[in-house]
């Protein structure tokens, strides 16, 4: 049996709001990622996808339930995980190359050794010529790729990715998706991948997990994607099985998306 890399058991996350009320974002979340498995989380906006990743990263403590990483309860930060944040997280005062190298330098790798390895990683995300640029001189997609290199150079056993292709156009997303699959194929880390794009989720993942609209969002569906690997994102979308699965998941997701949208508008009106 393959070991479980991430296991959330009955996790519940609540936030204390400014006025003293408590907002329950996620409830009874049951989620596992096996070693070498690529799991995608899809759900309407505001349902708690980032929140779940933060719990898996150890940045947020669940109000109830447990988090186990490689079968050990998580205390503090998850040292086995690399986290690709939804928002810009590069150090703006470091060049792209330094941003990637820092992951090694923190561990005590001498700079002279870290820089060439950082350069290699930049090259493998297609930014070999951009090492000298500061983050503000890069496009949104380029910044995401630098962030990916920054995380991967540390060779984490678990990869947490929060809408890594969020700000990109549809074509670039597919190119990046293929790049990600290539990199992942090399050593098959456990991946927890958040996206709001169902097609992307099916094309990339081994399993697709659907969350309901918040508050008290739950995991309401878990589908196995048995499309053969290695996959090409462009071609896999033409597959019959892909379409069948997409239709099946979408029928569940559609209602939640409508609900999530209605709820967020109502909440906005109530304020």
């Amino acid at each position: 049996m393959t070991p479980t890399a991430v296991a959330l058991e009955d996790a519940k996350v609540a936030f204390r709001l400014g006025d003293g009320r408590v907002y329950t974002a996620v409830e009874q979340a049951h989620l596992t990622v096996d070693q070498g498995e690529f799991v995608a989380i899809v759900g309407p906006t505001g349902c708690g996808k980032s929140t779940l990743l933060n719990v898996a990263a150890g940045l947020l403590k669940p109000a109830a339930g447990s988090v186990r990483i490689f079968d050990r309860p998580l205390a503090g930060l998850n040292r086995d995980a690399g986290y690709l944040f939804q928002a810009d997280a590069l150090f703006p005062w470091k060049t792209a190359l330094d941003n990637v190298a820092i992951g090694l330098e923190i561990k005590g790798t001498p700079r002279a050794e870290a820089l060439p390895r950082a350069q290699k990683w930049l090259t493998s995300v297609g930014l070999g010529a951009f090492g000298g640029r500061y983050p503000h001189m890069l496009s949104g997609g380029q910044r995401k790729r630098v962030a990916l290199a920054q995380v991967l150079i540390r060779d984490p056993k678990i990869l947490l990715m929060d809408e890594p292709f969020g700000p990109l156009d549809a074509q670039t997303r597919q190119v990046m998706g293929n790049l990600l699959l290539d990199l992942w194929n090399a050593d098959r880390k456990a991946v927890l991948f958040v996206t709001h794009d169902l097609e992307e989720a099916i094309a990339l993942a081994d399993r697709v997990v659907i969350m309901s609209a918040g508050p008290s969002s739950r995991i309401i569906g878990d589908w196995r994607v048995s499309l053969p690997r290695p996959r090409d994102i462009f071609e896999v979308r033409l597959d019959k099985e892909f379409h069948a699965l997409h239709r099946e998941i979408w029928s569940v997701l559609k209602d939640e998306v409508m609900k999530g949208y209605a709820q967020s508008t109502n909440a906005a009106e109530a304020v």
Binding site: Y83, F85, A87
Partner: protein, 262 residues
């Protein structure tokens, strides 16, 4: 507009200003001199005063003193501001306790401190340095405090997830952020260091540009006052230019307004 045209226009403004000044102080208009030379001097006298200062070399001593006071005030004020700013930002309790006192001291017009510093530290350079320090310290302090507090949550979390220790977070996240805020106020704080020095000299000293101006004023030597002001302006512009060079070097990573992105 090209650089050359801009420069030409800038020089034109100076020329017109000087010509107007010369004409209004020497040529009677409608039977009356509009700007009496006794109060306004004239460009020629002012210029010859400046030339005299530099040719005899007396000015260097005064410039040197003012420069030394400014630098000392800037360095001491900055180091103090950085240390206290960091300390307050990392210890919210300390910041909360001292908050009203910091506000109180900062609200005080610094000029009233000059006599006290003169009493405590004498008429030498240190009373001027102290005055400059009280100005520089608060600017740097507030900026560093802000810089440490406003570090992006995500960048901080990223540092943590990459495995940074508290010390490494200091070095790679808090410190650069605080420095960038401090450098963004570099022009202001350097300017205030000079202001502190000159005002201190003006209120009581035996050397420096402020002293020079005060002396000329004491004997109604208006040409001397104006000459002192021009030398002072040139001095500040030169320092400011130096600051711009330093800033360009240190803040290369920051988007400029011209980039059109935040």
């Amino acid at each position: 507009m090209s650089r050359a045209t801009l420069l030409a226009l800038q020089i034109l403004v100076a020329v017109i200003g000087i010509v107007l000044w010369q004409v209004l102080t020497t040529v009677p208009l409608f039977g009356k001199i509009l700007l009496p030379p006794f109060f306004f001097s004239n460009p020629f006298d002012v210029f010859s005063q400046i030339v005299k200062w530099f040719s005899t070399g007396v000015i260097w001593k005064h410039l040197g003193i003012t420069l030394a006071e400014s630098i000392l005030a800037f360095v001491i004020g900055s180091v103090g501001g950085v240390l206290v700013g960091f300390w307050f930002a990392r210890q919210p309790l300390v910041a909360a306790v001292f908050d009203p006192y910091v506000k109180m001291v900062n609200a005080l017009p610094r000029v009233v401190l000059a006599p006290i510093f003169a009493l405590w530290l004498g008429l030498g350079i240190w009373s001027k340095v102290a005055l400059g320090v009280t100005l520089v310290f608060f600017i740097v302090f507030f900026n560093v405090y802000q810089g440490v507090k406003e570090v992006s949550r995500t960048v901080l979390d990223n540092g943590r997830m990459l495995g940074m220790s508290e010390r490494q977070l200091m070095q790679h996240v808090y410190w650069p952020s605080a420095l960038s805020w401090m450098f963004s106020s570099l022009h202001t704080s350097v300017g205030f260091a000079v202001v502190g020095a000159v005002v201190g000299e003006y209120l009581g000293s035996a050397a420096g540009l402020g002293y020079l101006i005060q002396q000329a004023e004491g004997i109604f030597d208006v040409a001397g006052v104006f000459a002192g002001m021009f030398v002072l302006s040139a001095f500040v512009i030169l320092i400011d230019f130096g600051v711009t060079l330093v800033e360009r070097r240190l803040l290369v990573w920051r988007p400029t307004a011209a980039d059109g992105r935040g």
